[in-house]
């Protein structure tokens, strides 16, 4: 496998044609508006055949896959001290590119523009810690889950808690107003004490200083604690709300979808995904991912 430059960051300054057309559409000039509409329609038409072609074939013949990754959401995607993108999503993109035997072009996106980037054909895949919901499912397709993303109760390794009823008589820290707070308030037994802190830092500090026995938080927050290598490490006790991450791809791309799912399944089986999870989240993949 000869890869000259495994990761290229393409510049993002290509104008989006559809958007440019819209901005020309001033209400007072009807002719121009018409022209803009025609232009937009033409763009849509020219884009449409690409979407219906086999994306997997295109990727293989181009020898490069373009993947949208986050750049401001550690540990999934951030810029390292060497100014190179790093994180769970970046490693996942590398894994897919390697196993498809093509080069990788990482495209930094935000959570707001990642789906438009996919729909307008700027990227082939979105690996951007994206959860599945009906609104998204209506416009794009998803692979199988590739990364765990959940809220749960975490405590020291030796603390015996298996479900909400085991919290009886215990003190649990949580960030006030968070999903964990709302859910745990419903399911915690009456004699469990919930200590509600203003922000994640308060919750983390309360756990590390032993002011609470366990905390309810996201696995990403737990990963951030583990990354600091504190004397007391949070281990997953039970799940509150699960919303794993999926690879997003355009609709009607069964070949690409199958190829991605195959790679994810193989990576789960051969431990490659477990390794990525250990590196970035500080803990292995939960059961059933």
């Amino acid at each position: 496998m000869t890869r000259r430059d495994p990761i290229r960051m393409p510049s993002n300054d290509r104008p989006a044609p559809a958007r440019a057309a819209h901005s020309q559409g001033r209400p007072m000039i009807t002719k121009r508006r018409l022209l803009a509409a025609a232009l937009a329609a033409a763009t849509a038409l020219s884009a449409a055949p690409a979407a219906f072609a086999d994306a997997l074939e295109d990727i293989k013949s181009a020898g490069i896959i373009r993947v949208a990754v986050p750049q401001d959401f550690p540990p999934f995607g951030s810029v390292g001290t060497d100014m190179k993108p790093q994180g769970y999503d970046v490693d996942m993109a590398r894994l897919i590119a390697t196993r498809l035997n093509v080069d990788l072009a990482l495209v930094p996106v935000t959570s707001a523009n990642r789906i438009p980037f996919l729909q307008t054909g700027k990227v082939d895949l979105v690996i951007s810690s994206m959860g599945k919901n009906p609104e998204r499912d209506a416009v794009i397709d998803f692979s199988d889950a590739y990364a765990p993303f959940y809220n749960g109760v975490f405590g020291p390794e030796d603390l015996a808690i298996a479900d909400a009823s085991d919290l009886s008589g215990r003190t649990v820290g949580v960030t006030r107003g968070s999903i964990e707070d709302l859910e745990l308030t419903k399911i915690a037994p009456a004699d469990a004490t919930l200590k509600r802190y203003e922000d994640n830092n308060g919750t983390i500090s309360a756990f590390l200083s032993g002011q609470v026995e366990a905390i309810a938080t996201g696995n990403v927050v737990a990963a951030a604690i583990i990354a600091q290598d504190p004397p007391k490490k949070p281990a997953m006790k039970f799940l509150i709300k699960n919303s794993p991450c999926y690879v997003g791809l355009n609709e009607n791309e069964p070949a690409l979808q199958a190829a991605v799912n195959e790679i994810i399944a193989a990576a789960k089986a051969d431990g490659a995904l477990e390794e990525i999870a250990q590196q970035w989240l500080g803990m292995g993949l939960p059961e059933g991912l």
């Binding site: 006030r176 509600r196 802190y197 203003e198 200083s209 032993g210």
Partner: protein
């Protein structure tokens, strides 16, 4: 720009507010009484105490008066457990308030003591009072009398400052407001209500403290 006030949610949250008010009152009772006691001791220590005590008191007073209350609170709650000294959040908040009020009231009371003419000490000695008796009757009572309104203000300030203890999950009045706000998203009403309660508490506390001053120092009544 019309806003419809809606206090209907309060039906479910007034117990939270009631507990919050009770906690705030409890904190200022403990903090106020012990804080002023600590302040009297430190004022004595700094102005009249043994030579070795004076720099220690000065260090404590300057340390507390020149650092933020929130940091003192975090230090006690999050920091000290690392040294094996763990207090729960209410104990930590009470301790922080006592220490904080102690330092400020020490300086206020010291000002009162130093305003006492030297001749009064000699007058006390000439009446065969012991140094402690002289301090109590001749120095402290007149000193407290002089600075009582300032001390009352400081207690009110500490009570209002106790709003930050919700940061370490003490369920005080501010916690109640934040809690209700994060569940109902009626921010205007939640903070409107807590503002009104704090205002009432502050006015009531000041009134009670000034009345207490009148009772403690009856012969000065009307002289203020």
């Amino acid at each position: 720009m019309t806003y419809e006030f809606d206090f209907a949610w309060l039906a479910g949250y007034w117990p939270v507010f009631a507990r919050g008010v009770a906690m705030t009152i409890r904190l200022i009772l403990v903090g106020g009484v012990l804080g002023i006691a600590l302040g009297i001791f430190c004022a004595w220590g700094r102005a009249l105490g043994p030579r070795w005590l004076r720099p220690l008191v000065a260090l404590y007073v300057e340390l507390i008066r020149n650092t933020p209350f929130l940091i003192q609170l975090f230090f006690i709650f999050f920091g000290l457990p690392a040294a094996g000294f763990r207090l729960n959040e209410v104990e930590a908040a009470s301790l922080a308030m006592v220490i904080n009020l102690g330092a400020y009231s020490a300086e206020i009371i010291r000002a009162g003591i130093e305003a006492t003419p030297r001749g009064q000490f000699e007058a006390g000695a000439s009446l065969a009072l012991s140094p402690l008796q002289t301090f109590r009757h001749v120095v402290l009572i007149p000193a407290l009398q002089k600075i009582w309104p300032a001390l009352a203000s400081q207690v009110v300030i500490v009570m209002l400052g106790s709003a930050v203890v919700s940061q370490i999950a003490v369920e005080d009045l501010t916690f109640a407001a934040n809690f209700a706000q994060s569940r109902t998203f009626r921010a205007f009403e939640a903070y409107f209500l807590s503002t009104a309660i704090y205002l009432a508490l502050a006015i009531l506390l000041r009134f009670l403290l000034l009345r207490l001053g009148d009772l403690l120092f009856p012969h000065k009544r009307g002289a203020r």
